[in-house]
Structure formats: C-alpha cells, structure tokens
C-alpha cells in the first residue's frame, strides 16, 4: 500500500490519486491473473508428468520438445477453440456464472498471498481469514454449477461439495488457530516473520511452526488433510468422482468453461500449498538462519509450495478415494476434536514452555 503514494508522488503527480489507485489495482490484477494461469499451466503439466512417472510411463513427450512442456498450452488452446455447449435444459444464467465464480474465488485468494517480504498484492491484516473466506465463494460456485447443469450426477456433485465444504471448513480453520495464537496476528507476512526464530532463539528450520511443538505438528498434518478435502483432491475428490458421478459438477461443461474449472482446481491447489508453507513451514525462510540464506525469498517460497503440490499429486496417484460417510466421519470424529485439543494443547505449551 505504500507503493501507491510513492508512485503517485514520484511519477504520476499530474494524475488524480484515485486514477493511480485504480490503475495500480488493474495492473496488479492483470499480473495476478497471468500468474494464476501460469501456475495452472505448470501444475497441470507437472501433474501429468508426476502421474506418468509414478505409473511407469512417460506422459506428454512431444509437444514443445523437452518432455512435452507445451502440452498444457496446446490443451488450453484446444479448450478455447472447442464448441461451447450449454445443455438445453440447463439454467443458462447460473450455468454461465458458475465457472466465473469458481475461478473468481480461487483468483481472489491470490491477492493476499505474500511471495516475499514485500511481494504481495494486498498486504491484508487478516490474510489467513481472507483466504479461508474466498474458498467459500468457490464452494458456492461449485454448488451453482451442479445445480445449473440440470444433470442428476452434477447435482450430486454439488450436494457433495456443500456437505464436504461445510464440514471441512471447520477443521481447516481450527487447525490454523494454534499458529495464529503463536503469531498473534492474522497477517500472513507477520506470521512468516514470526517464524524467523523459534524457541531458544534458534533460527531456520526450528523457527517454523511445524517444529515448534508437537501440537503444531499434529495441527499441520490435520490442516493438510483438510486442505486436500477443501480443494477436492484425491482421496477426497468426491464432488467430481469420475467413477461414481461421471465428472460431478462439471459433467456438462465443455471448452473454455470447463477450462475455468480446471484452472480453478490447480489455482486452489497452489493456494492450499501456499497456506501450508506460509503458516507452518516458514514461508520464505530457508532451512537455515535468514542471515545465510542465498536463494531469493520468492524462490524459497515457491520451492516449498512446489514440494507441497508434489505431495498432493503423490497422494492423488497413490490412494483410492474415501466414501462420503467415511469422509464425514473423518472430519467430525477425528479432525475437529483434534483441532480443539490442539488449541488447548498449544495454549498450555505456550504458557508453560515459552512463557507467553
């Protein structure tokens, strides 16, 4: 936010301040949009390569030369050019809106993610909370898609999303609470900064909340599980189970609208990975003290995110999927009680060992 007055005073003093604000906002949004698209493209390609190599095959190999790195671009182009079909019985307005809402929710979450100490579109005071809130919009979008398609399988997908989202929002917020208690702030940048040094002033990896106390470690695992469920990834991909619901809420979508859902899925995956990184794994802090960190901060951050994205893919290509009642049981009987336990446990730990 300090950037805008600076820009205004130094270069664009002739223009009214509001125009500069709008201009900066638009350019920022454009850059973010490009970034989201890039993340999706790379992640889709990576997913295909990761899955291929896990399944003893090569995956895309021709388009673009090196390991088919242009494959996703080609697929994206194909999706752009494909016929856009709106089913005759579909609810047209909602049908058109749904992918926009889903992608919009995923995209808005990027605004609060800091890629480095100063590298953030909007340094919100309540960044964690904001990102959680944006996933609610995604959920409503998915329900909308499931409803509007006028397909019973899609409707099932929508209803599963509603149930799953409603349930897993609670543990994912609960398991973030210990971190917020430690950091004393909801600002993502502040949370990362508070991980520079840990107990006894040890820096680097010991500063990460992941290793601060056993409750936080448990919290991290539970948070990771619920983030998988919130982003609809295997083993929790129930809203789009291809073997049960054909393709769930996006069964009827084609072409560019389908591409939006697809991009949103990978965008969400990145957001979940980024939250794990920022809150539990020290964000852009390397494994050693910040004084001897050689890689640029965004690179460290992205490396950690990639590790999490890889883990997500690894799980997807290894595990079968849960059943809806098992999914609910896991959430309500396991993750939520553990979340409450972690909050109390972390508070006690802070009080006893760290004298906060």
């Amino acid at each position: 936010m300090h950037f805008v007055p600076y820009l205004h005073e130094q270069f664009l003093s002739a223009w009214p301040a509001s125009v500069v604000v709008l201009l900066v906002a638009l350019i920022g949004a454009g850059i973010m949009l490009a970034w989201v698209a890039l993340v999706a493209l790379v992640a889709v390609w990576a997913e295909r390569k990761v899955s291929a190599h896990m399944q003893a095959r090569l995956g895309p190999i021709y388009v673009g030369g090196f390991h088919g790195w242009l494959q996703t671009v080609a697929d994206g182009l194909k999706l752009f050019l494909k016929e856009d079909i709106i089913p005759a019985m579909a609810d047209k307005w909602l049908y058109i809106q749904a992918p926009v809402l889903v992608f919009g929710g995923a995209f808005l979450a990027y605004a609060a993610i800091p890629f480095g100490p100063k590298l953030v579109v909007s340094d919100l005071n309540i960044g964690v909370f904001y990102i959680l809130a944006m996933s609610a919009i995604v959920a409503v979008g998915i329900i909308m898609a499931g409803w509007a398609s006028h397909n019973k399988w899609s409707l099932y997908g929508g209803m599963r999303t509603a149930a799953q989202f409603l349930s897993y929002e609670i543990p994912s917020a609960l398991h973030l609470m210990p971190v917020i208690m430690y950091a004393g702030t909801l600002n993502l940048g502040e949370i990362v900064r508070s991980q520079e040094t840990g107990l006894f002033g040890w820096a680097g990896i010991f500063g990460w909340y992941l290793f601060r106390n056993p409750f936080l470690f448990l919290s991290f695992i539970c948070y990771y599980i619920s983030s998988l469920a919130e982003t609809n990834r295997t083993p929790f991909d129930l809203p789009e189970t291809e073997s049960e619901l054909v393709a769930g809420y996006h069964t009827e979508y084609t072409g560019i609208r389908f591409a939006f859902f697809f991009m949103a899925e990978y965008a969400n995956m990145f957001v979940a990975a980024a939250l794990s990184t920022l809150l539990f794994c020290g964000g852009w802090n390397g494994v050693l003290s910040r004084n001897i960190q050689y890689l640029p901060d965004p690179v460290v951050f992205l490396l950690k995110c990639s590790a999490f994205i890889f883990l997500t893919m690894w799980l997807r290509w290894t595990l079968p999927r849960f059943r809806i009642d098992q999914l609910m049981a896991l959430c309500w009987k396991f993750l939520i009680p553990l979340g409450l336990l972690n909050i109390v446990g972390s508070a006690l730990w802070m009080y006893i060992f760290e004298q906060v």
Partner: protein, 396 residues
C-alpha cells in the same frame, strides 16, 4: 424450470422392473430420484445400464438393463459351420478370448468325440491361463479405477501388455485370438515362446506383490470394500453365480479341480476361496482378492505346464468339411469370470441347430439387483466393479 427429481413420480416402477414397489416417504419430505447409471457411465464397464432409485446418496434399488451390445451370437451360431464359429466366441467375453475359444472347442470335441493331442492340451492350458491372468489384471486395474486409485490401473495394464505380446507372437491377435481351434490349436508355439513366458512369469509375481501393496492392502481400499455388498454362499449358488464370485462367497468350487477337463489334474495348485478376512464373507474385498490370489495360482499352473510340454502334433485331424454326428451336448469350462457353458444341438449337418451360450457374467449380474438395496452410490460402484462384468458376454 422443473426440479431434477420430479419425473420420478410419474413412472410405473413395476414396469421398469423394480421389486420394491411401495414408495417410501423420505424424511426430508422430498422425492426419490430416478437416475440412469449407464449405458455410458464410466464405471459400468461397457454398456450396462442401471436404473437407480435413490434417496439422496442411498440407493433403494437398482435395476439392470442389458442388450446394448446384443450381436445375435446365438443366431449366428446357427448359421455358420462349427469351426467358423470360433472367432465369434472371441467376442463373447472379449477379455478372455482364449478361454472362450477353448470352451467352444471342447464342446465340439465332446460332441464329435475328437481326441486332442497332448501337446495341444499343454499349449491350451498355458495360453488360457495367461489369458486368465490378463483378464484378472484388467479387473484389478479397473476396480482400482472405480474406487479412485488410478495408478494400479496402468501398472496392471503394463503387465497385461506383456501377456498380449506373448499371445500375439503365437496367435497374431492381441484381443481376439481365434487360436484354440477344434481339435487343437491353430499353430505350434514359436521357439521363443517358452522362454518369453518364463521370463514374464518370473518377474510377474513381484509385480503382483507390488500391486497388492499399493491397492489390495491399502487401508482406504479395505475400508471401501470390506463389508460392502456381501453375497452369501446359498444365494450365490441359487442365483447361478460361478467362478470368482462363487469362490469369494466361501464355496470351494473350481471346475479345473473339481471337474478337471483337459489336463488340469496334472498340476499342483490351490483353489482360492474367500475367507472374509477383512469383513464379512463374500464382500467385495473377497471378490477382488480371490482374483488377485488366482493370478498367483495361474502362474503356478503356467510354470508347470511349460515344464511339461511334450513333443508331438499340435492338432488332431479334423476333416475340412467337418460334420459332427447328430446329438446334443453341454459343456462348461472355468473362465476368468465363471463357468462358460455351450449347449450345442447338432443334426449331423455342417451347422449346429442350436448354440446356446451360457455366459457367466449374465448369471452373475442377476444378483446385482438384490445386492443393491439400501446402499450408497459409492458402494454400489464398488459392488458392480467387483462383479467384473463384460457386457459382450451378458448381451451376446
């Protein structure tokens, strides 16, 4: 705009084949949903259509509809000579063509009293068991796919490719072989066949162990399959279920041991029976696991058969203008999916009067409606997958 569930009220459920007629008033005051699962649904493995009556996620009843792949296999049988019918049997259960060819060949051999040379018998056993492995691999892979595990699918298909390569080498086909003919086999095995087979079988067991580790004993997989859709032994027998489905319900019955046709009595192997280790007897995990365990046994049989191939002719002398004596004959063989039986009536002419194909999948599928009661959609997918239906055989 009409609600998605409204049309359920207007149809005559009885005329669609639903057994439970009384419509339950649901707790939420809403209607049941009638949903078509298939004929193009991803997990009905072909063109099976199931009409589901659901209350939310819970299925009240599911009615199967078949016939989308009906190709008049029996009518064709009445119009072509006996040996020409072999390629049509390929297309019954297209995942186990060798076994189908073999069952047809044995039926006609029984009808005409043809004695098959020993070498041919050994070759037949080897290719049929290889084909059985290939067929079970498809089941194991696609079953993982049904439950959301993608990787085992490709691993099993990779192994299956190896088998197809071997079978291609001797028969020229990769799916429909037409290799086992009346009186023997089409061609002798190639010189490299035995070594290739041995090489494959040697590495195959470890691959199977890996698939077990990845899928069969995965905790999520067990929780998805154990205690789901248990089929009692009595019901299985009464409904005419055969093969792995029957064995999974705890019935120790395998034609290869209990009615040893061909040379199966010469081999040392075990019949795999479901024991209900992870849940109830005859649940989907048992049905799945019986097949996995059978593959180990197939390897044993193959290895023994490869050791014992005698020299000699690979085909008995069958006249070109083959006319079996008048009569009728029923013969069944243990196929990967159960007992495939042919009923042939001959009037002494070139063509049979009647060919009846008793496909195992057809009888196995008839239990599905019973099993579907009060089951989650996800569980139903698991149950249908565990039956390993091949619609080519159901619809004929």
């Amino acid at each position: 705009m009409t609600g998605v569930g409204e049309e359920a009220m207007d149809v005559d459920l009885k005329s669609l084949g639903f057994r439970v007629e009384e419509r339950r008033t649901l707790a939420s005051g809403s209607d049941e949903l009638l949903i078509n699962m298939g004929p193009q649904h991803p997990s009905t493995h072909g063109v099976l259509r199931l009409l589901l009556r659901t209350d939310g996620e819970e299925i009240q009843e599911a009615v199967p509809f078949m016939g989308y792949l009906h190709r008049c296999a029996e009518k064709i049988g009445e119009n072509v000579p006996y040996d020409t019918y072999t390629p049509y049997t390929d297309r019954l259960d297209y995942l186990s063509s060798m076994n189908n060819n073999w069952a047809w060949a044995m039926t006609v051999e029984k009808l005409a009293g043809i004695e098959v040379p020993q070498r041919a018998e050994y070759i037949r056993v080897i290719v049929a068991e290889l084909n059985r492995i290939a067929s079970h691999l498809v089941m194991v892979g696609t079953y993982g796919l049904d439950l959301g595990a993608f990787t085992p699918f490709l691993l099993t298909f990779r192994e299956r490719e190896e088998i197809l390569d071997i079978l291609e080498e001797i028969s020229g086909g990769r799916l429909c072989y037409g290799y086992i003919r009346i009186g023997g086999v089409t061609d002798d095995i190639t010189p490299t066949f035995a070594t290739k087979c041995r090489a494959f079988l040697r590495q195959y067991v470890s691959k199977l162990d890996a698939i077990n580790e990845l899928l069969s004993y995965n905790r999520i997989f067990i929780r998805r399959t154990a205690n789901v859709g248990p089929l009692s032994a009595e019901k299985a027998i009464a409904c005419g279920c055969t093969g792995p489905i029957l064995r999974a319900s705890g019935v120790d019955w395998d034609l290869r041991r209990d009615e040893p046709y061909s040379i199966y009595d010469k081999f040392d192997w075990n019949v795999c029976v479901g024991k209900g280790e992870k849940g109830q007897l005859g649940d989907t995990w048992d049905r799945y696991m019986v097949r996995v365990r059978e593959m180990y046994e197939c390897v044993k049989i193959c290895e023994q058969a490869l050791e014992g191939i005698p020299e000699g002719p690979f085909r008995a002398k069958v006249p070109r203008n083959f006319k079996p004596p008048a009569g009728e004959c029923y013969f069944r063989a243990e196929n990967p999916r159960g007992e495939l039986a042919f009923y042939v009536v001959s009037d002494g002419s070139k063509r049979p009067v009647r060919v009846k194909v008793r496909g195992p999948s057809f009888c196995n599928l008839s239990v599905v409606q019973e099993l579907s009661r009060n089951m989650l959609v996800s569980d139903f997918v698991a149950v249908v997958g565990s039956f390993d239906l091949v619609m080519g055989e159901v619809d004929r």
